[in-house]
Amino acid sequence: MKKGIRGRLILILLTVVASIVFALPSTPVYSKLPSWWGRFFPSKGVTLGLDLQGGMHLVLEVEAEKAVDNAVERNLLSLKESLEEQKINVQSIRKEGREILLTFPPESKEAVTKIIDTEYPSLTTRQEGAGEKVLIFRESEVKRILDSSTSQALETIRNRVDQFGVSEPLIQKQGANQILVQLPGIKDPQRAIELIGKTALLEFKLVADFNPVVGQFPAQIEAEQEQNFINEYKDKISPDDQILFERNVDKESGRVTKHPYLVKKRAVLAGDLLTDARVSIGQFNDPYVSITFDAAGARLFEKVSEENRNKRLAIVLDDTIYSAPVIREKIGGGRAQISGSFTTEQANDLAIVLRAGALPAPVKIIQNVTVGPSLGSDSIAKSIRAGLAGTILVVLFMVFYYRLSGLLADLTMVLNIILLVGALAALNATLTLPGIAGIILTIGMSVDSNVLIMERIRDELRAGKPVRLAIDAGYDKAFSSIFDSHVTTLITAFVLFMFGTGPVKGFAVSLSLGVIINLFTSLVGTKVVYDFINSRKRLERLSI
């Protein structure tokens, strides 16, 4: 055997073996292999796309602008309290858009300015007069909040998903303020959405029970009437207070009602001071979440409880009151309970979001693709059928039209498929349904190169050349066409890869790899067989 032939045959054999080894983890055979196999050889094959294995693909948009609004609001309330504490006389302080407007008697101006400069470095004065000031956030601060909102949200969501227990989730930033979340194989997509999308802002607010307006509140209102209620009482309450609702579910009838509370807008304590949140079971087998504060939080909690005995403290999550127990005594130890008609699952999820922390800004779901697992395995089964059908059709046709040479081309096609699957597995590429279609397309296109070569060989034979020369000439002359047509297909596949999302990218990868591998097999693979036959005995006629 000529050296050149042996070298090429060995190369082909090696690539085939390598492909099989790489592809094994993706086949049913893998589970039957001994356990030590995984230690030396690749153990991860092709990754199945969401459309094949089932799962959820979410794109979230972080409403970073709201984070800025929230920050302005927080600063306003805090400034108001500072001014009151230091007994500085101020006529009014209110928010307009993103600005804080203060009016005060001229003699207070110096004190006001001092407080703002020392305690509120992120605020700066846009405009002022003898008895008024307009404050806004510094540009740099606004930018900082906008930029960090998305990264913070990303981290928080990652924490939550980690605790949710999905295998191989994908969470990454997309663009300026979007987050991509992929949860393969998830069984309960609705629960996941709630877990991820919940802002989870935990606040403790004092209830203003002793305000006369409260006497006019009904005990309960119907579930959808909150906004009407708020509109009715809007002008009767001070800007320092707000109306929030507690959700009550009647255990027997399942009827949902809302109990209105008047609370102080400024939270005395917030969830960022929590160190832990756990689920426990109460007296009547109802689950509740017990939370633990850190040292600063515990001290604050103690102070608040001491100063507000016999007042109610509302536990507010995302502007809904979960419960509003009365403070009977000073609470040391920094522990509290959140209860309120939970199922165990709801309590667990609440504990998860409390542990992971609140989102810095609300997130909006702008894309949600969920595929159930049954549809995926259905698609795979159908694709395999289509692939087999296509292969058989092409094989039969080639043998019919080109006889033995056709059979050779068919073997090349099978080689192509093996190498393609191996390459996909080696790269741990994500296989999607269009990706499988791409593989099947490769079946049809891979014989094309061989067709070009064989037609050329036929031309040369018809022109009277002897067999060996006809074969060589055929390969030489066909090379240029084959090369050009493959490159042009690669150009479109490359563009598809750059611009496509998930399933389309999968297709582009399959197609590109298929084309490249085909270049290799059609020019090296079939030639070596012809050369081999030629070296054994002189061919007088070619079955082509």
């Binding site: 014989v447 094309d448 034979l461 563009v495 399933p503 389309v504």
Partner: protein, 304 residues
């Protein structure tokens, strides 16, 4: 050797105006499709238009009319309904831009739980897409097609000559427009997968065209005394066999996909089937004759 096309002598060039007319009509169809798409009047899939698509599998077969009534009672009036695969599966599409916010998926679930008690169902797949993503996708798709075309012109012009590049680009563009136009007429959904199919068939049609151009280039080098029309005609006739066969093999593979591949890629494989046919047609009847446009400049080819 069995041959489909024995030595042929078809006058492709002579009849070219006939084919130009036919192709012109096809391209016009495609342009109309593009215009209607940009006006939002075509059957755009939800990945471009925004909206929700939910596929449900019921334990017992369900009538579309009953399903529609149940949805209307839940306030979902503009839904498109379609049975998929068999009668116990239903695909519901709502093309409202604020689909995600109105939580269409849950409302559909509730509507069917109320309307068909006892007929258990499960959600096989659901897709909810807000409008901003759809618009971005439209832009991206257009950009992708444009860049492909430019890449193709550059490569072909580089390997052959500029004139060849333009002819190849026009022929390929014709194929994409023709398939798009046919899909528009058949009122099939225009989705991202269709765009993928269009780009793929552009690549395929181009490889096909390259085979013919390659032979033309070769013949131009060896037969300098022949008039250009004859060279081109002869070249096409010479490669008739191989372009036909490559067309058939790809066609067989894609046909298998079409018949056996299932619903999800049904339209995709249809686009590819049309693409193979039209792509082969354009390599024979459109791309090469285009080389003759502007005769005087065509003489330059001969001298090269």
């Amino acid at each position: 050797m069995f041959q489909v096309f024995k030595k042929t002598d078809i006058d492709f060039i002579g009849k070219r105006y006939l084919f130009f007319t036919l192709s012109g009509l096809l391209m016009l169809l495609g342009v109309v499709a593009l215009v209607q798409i940009s006006r939002g009047k075509a059957n755009l899939g939800i990945d471009f238009a925004g909206g929700a698509a939910v596929q449900l599998k019921f334990s017992q077969p369900i009538q579309i009319d009953d399903a529609r009534k149940a949805l209307e009672q839940a306030g979902l009036r503009d839904a498109e309904l379609q049975t998929v695969i068999e009668e116990s599966r239903l695909l519901i599409r709502v093309k409202k831009e604020d689909a995600v916010e109105r939580n269409i998926r849950e409302r559909i679930q509730e509507a069917f739980a109320k309307g068909f008690p006892g007929n258990e169902f499960m959600i096989e797949s659901s897709t909810e897409i807000g409008p901003t993503i759809g618009r971005k996708l439209q832009k991206d798709a257009l950009l992708a097609v444009t860049i492909s075309m430019i890449g193709i012109i550059i490569y072909i012009a580089f390997r052959f000559e500029f004139r060849f590049g333009i002819a190849a680009a026009i022929a390929t563009f014709h194929d994409v427009l023709a398939v798009l136009g046919i899909f528009f007429v058949l009122n099939r959904e225009i989705t991202l997968l269709l765009i993928t199919a269009l780009l793929t068939l552009a690549g395929y049609s181009l490889s096909d065209t390259v085979v013919v151009f390659d032979r033309i280039r070769e013949n131009l080098r060896t037969r300098k005394k022949e008039p250009l029309e004859e060279t081109i005609n002869r070249s096409i006739n010479e490669v008739l066999s191989r372009t036909f066969i490559t067309g058939i093999t790809t066609f067989l593979a894609v046909a298998a996909l079409f018949f056996f591949g299932g619903d999800v890629i049904h339209d995709f494989s249809l686009a590819l089937i049309l693409g193979v046919i039209i792509g082969t047609y354009s390599s024979w009847f459109i791309a090469s004759p285009l080389l003759l446009v502007r005769r005087s400049e065509a003489r330059v080819l001969k001298r090269a």
